[in-house]
């Protein structure tokens, strides 16, 4: 392993190269674009052997990736925001076909109005599609999860496509230390591609023609079951990957920080986990007994891990960088459905590029703990970083002392 200062997007591109992907379907959309630019550059330099299809839309990006995958080739694509929404029909199509595919989503707000900044609603909108969905919290994890995704997706106990998300700009464009596995390590880790069937003239299967109702329903059930079953595969693959990156902890789906000794738990996903950890250290020093539970796998949703981790907490605070309109926010809803506690409250923030720092998390968490002590930590709040602030990108210029 060698260490380099690279961005999240470069890290993903390197993972794709290390995975010896055969075909990449590419279509630009900010903030994902530098992934595909990097891959195109590698191809031009002769560093990458993969076919690159420069398609005319995200719908086509997924379709071309899917076409290659069905025909027996390891395939990858990446997108974000409107692109993921435009691709939505094909993400479902690929899922129903049980074909291993890996996609990276550099999460971004959804229009209208236009907003190019970070938000996880695009990613979360695919929750019911049946894809495996992991969300990274730093560029290293984006690389590690992308590599693991190929292995998990191609495991015969799974055979489902997998997407890896990361916060747009915040991770996609942040340059930081990333340990890059050696080719031999990944070649040993990632066996040649396996898939449930290969569509070619040697085995003239028909894929996707009409299923009778009962058969269709059985297929749907089998997908659900494979998705649930994938939990064990993820842990198994994660454990093995820890040999490649000893600094990463992948033997569980989700990640605890000072949680087991905590009375109060904060649940969230993505890049701001780092800032929240800083806040938790600060609050712990002040005697507030709080810990963090970071959701890394949105699908499969590990009922077992999550309820075990949170069951004896006095109260749980779920912070979402996404909305589930009319119901609040996705992680909040999911946690409420998983954990049987009297006090679960939610905070929605960070939408459309609203940035929170350590102080914001100190504010949010201490407010939550105060409420919880009164037995009133319930319901959803929308948090704006400034007192009385509006939904505007908080540029540093407006940070007051």
């Amino acid at each position: 392993m060698r260490q380099k200062i690279i961005s999240g997007n470069e890290a993903v591109a390197l993972a794709v190269k290390l995975a010896r992907v055969g075909l990449v379907g590419i279509y630009p959309i900010t903030p994902q674009t530098s992934i595909i630019e990097k891959l195109a550059e590698m191809k031009a330099n002769g560093e990458l052997e993969a076919e690159i299809v420069r398609v005319e839309s995200e719908h086509a990006a997924m379709a071309s990736t899917f076409g290659a995958a069905v025909a027996g080739v390891r395939a990858f694509t990446a997108t974000a925001s409107q692109g993921l929404l435009y691709m939505h029909e094909m993400t479902w199509w690929a899922l129903g076909s049980r074909v291993p595919i890996v996609m990276v989503v550099a999460s971004r707000a959804v229009g209208a109005p236009w907003n190019i900044w970070d938000e996880n609603t695009d990613f979360m909108s695919e929750r019911d599609s049946g894809w495996l969905m992991a969300f990274a919290s730093n560029p290293q994890e984006a690389l590690d999860l992308t590599l693991q995704a190929f292995r998990i997706s191609e495991d015969e106990r799974v055979f489902l496509p997998m997407m890896v998300g990361m916060d747009g700009f915040i991770l996609s464009h942040m340059k930081t230390n990333v340990y890059i596995p050696a080719e031999e390590e990944i070649d040993a880790f990632l066996p040649p591609r396996r898939q449930p069937y290969i569509l070619d003239t040697e085995s003239p299967v028909g894929m996707g023609n009409i299923f009778p109702p009962i058969e269709y329903m059985k297929l749907r059930q089998s997908i659900h079951e494979a998705l649930v079953r994938s939990e064990d595969v993820i842990r198994e693959v994660g454990k093995e990957y820890e040999k490649i990156n000893p600094l990463g902890s992948y033997s569980t789906l989700n990640v605890k920080y000072k949680l087991d000794t905590a009375d109060y738990a904060v649940v969230l996903m993505g890049a701001w986990a780092g800032d929240a950890m800083e806040a938790i250290d600060h609050l712990r020093d002040k005697g507030i007994n709080v810990g963090l539970y970071r959701i890394r796998y949105v699908r499969p949703w590990s009922e077992k891990e999550i309820s075990e981790a949170l069951k004896d907490k006095k109260a749980v605070l779920v912070i979402d960088r996404a909305t589930a309109m009319g119901r609040g926010s996705p992680l909040y809803e999911e946690i409420k459905a998983t954990v049987n506690l009297d006090q679960i409250s939610g905070v929605i923030s960070g939408l459309g590029g609203v940035l929170l720092n350590k102080e914001d998390f100190v504010n949010i968490i201490s407010h939550f703990v105060e409420k919880a002590k009164l037995g009133k930590a319930n319901g959803i709040n929308w948090y704006y970083p400034q007192e009385g602030g509006k939904v505007e990108l908080r540029t540093p210029k407006s940070i007051e002392e």
Binding site: Q3, K4, I5, P31, I116, W117, N138, D167, F169, I170, L171, H173, M174, K175, T176, N177, A271, W272, A273, G274, D275, M277, E278, L355, L356, N357, K358, E359, L393, T395, P396, K397, I399, E401
Partner: protein, 187 residues
């Protein structure tokens, strides 16, 4: 406190502010340190005010938010002092490194270097603008002392090709050796 050094870069779109922060991080990485660099993204336009951040630490960096309490502020364009407040949030013990012909009067420990002149003297001009971004890193390195000039040169060679790399390496060394501290005038 895990973060050991937080540096904020101020400049104008087109001056290479983001590249400065990234090259510093790359150099720190070569020295075996942890580092992270990122800008605030938006509708960047040539000439418009822009800032970028770099954190350097001996241990893993967890924060991903913009730097609001920097240890060091690097200002690529002295006129920004008049039109905005690049010094906001700077720690009391913080330092300012500024591209300026003359010693500016700032209430912080301040270092100045005429990066514009160094750029012109060394033929580092692009689209009519002197390329001061890398040069400022030479001055910064001298002031912070935690990242080596050698590593910065490697980072420059990695980022640029041929002549531009050569010119920048030379200019960085000049800046490293000629940055000056502003003498505090007792009030």
């Amino acid at each position: 406190m895990i973060i050991s050094l937080e540096i904020r870069f101020h400049g104008r779109g087109g001056q290479g502010v983001v590249t400065s922060a990234e090259l510093l991080a790359t150099a720190a990485g070569i020295d075996g340190l942890w580092a992270s660099a990122f800008p605030i993204y938006g509708a960047e336009r040539r000439g418009a005010e822009i800032e970028a951040y770099c954190r350097i630490s001996k241990s893993q960096i967890r924060e991903t938010s913009p730097i609001s309490r920097p240890d060091i502020v690097v200002i690529l364009d002295p006129t920004l002092l008049k039109i905005s407040n690049p010094l906001r949030g700077l720690k009391e013990s913080g330092k300012v490194i500024i591209n300026s012909k003359v010693p500016p009067s700032v209430d912080f420990e301040t270092y100045y270097i005429d990066a514009t002149k160094i750029a012109m003297d060394n033929n580092l001009v692009k689209s009519g603008w002197p390329l001061v971004n890398i040069i400022m890193l030479g001055a910064l390195l001298k002031v912070i002392g935690t990242v080596s000039l050698e590593s910065l040169k490697i980072a420059i060679e990695d980022e640029f090709e041929g002549k531009i790399a050569e010119l920048n390496e030379k200019a960085v060394e000049i800046a490293y050796n000629s940055v000056k501290e502003v003498e505090k005038i007792a009030v």
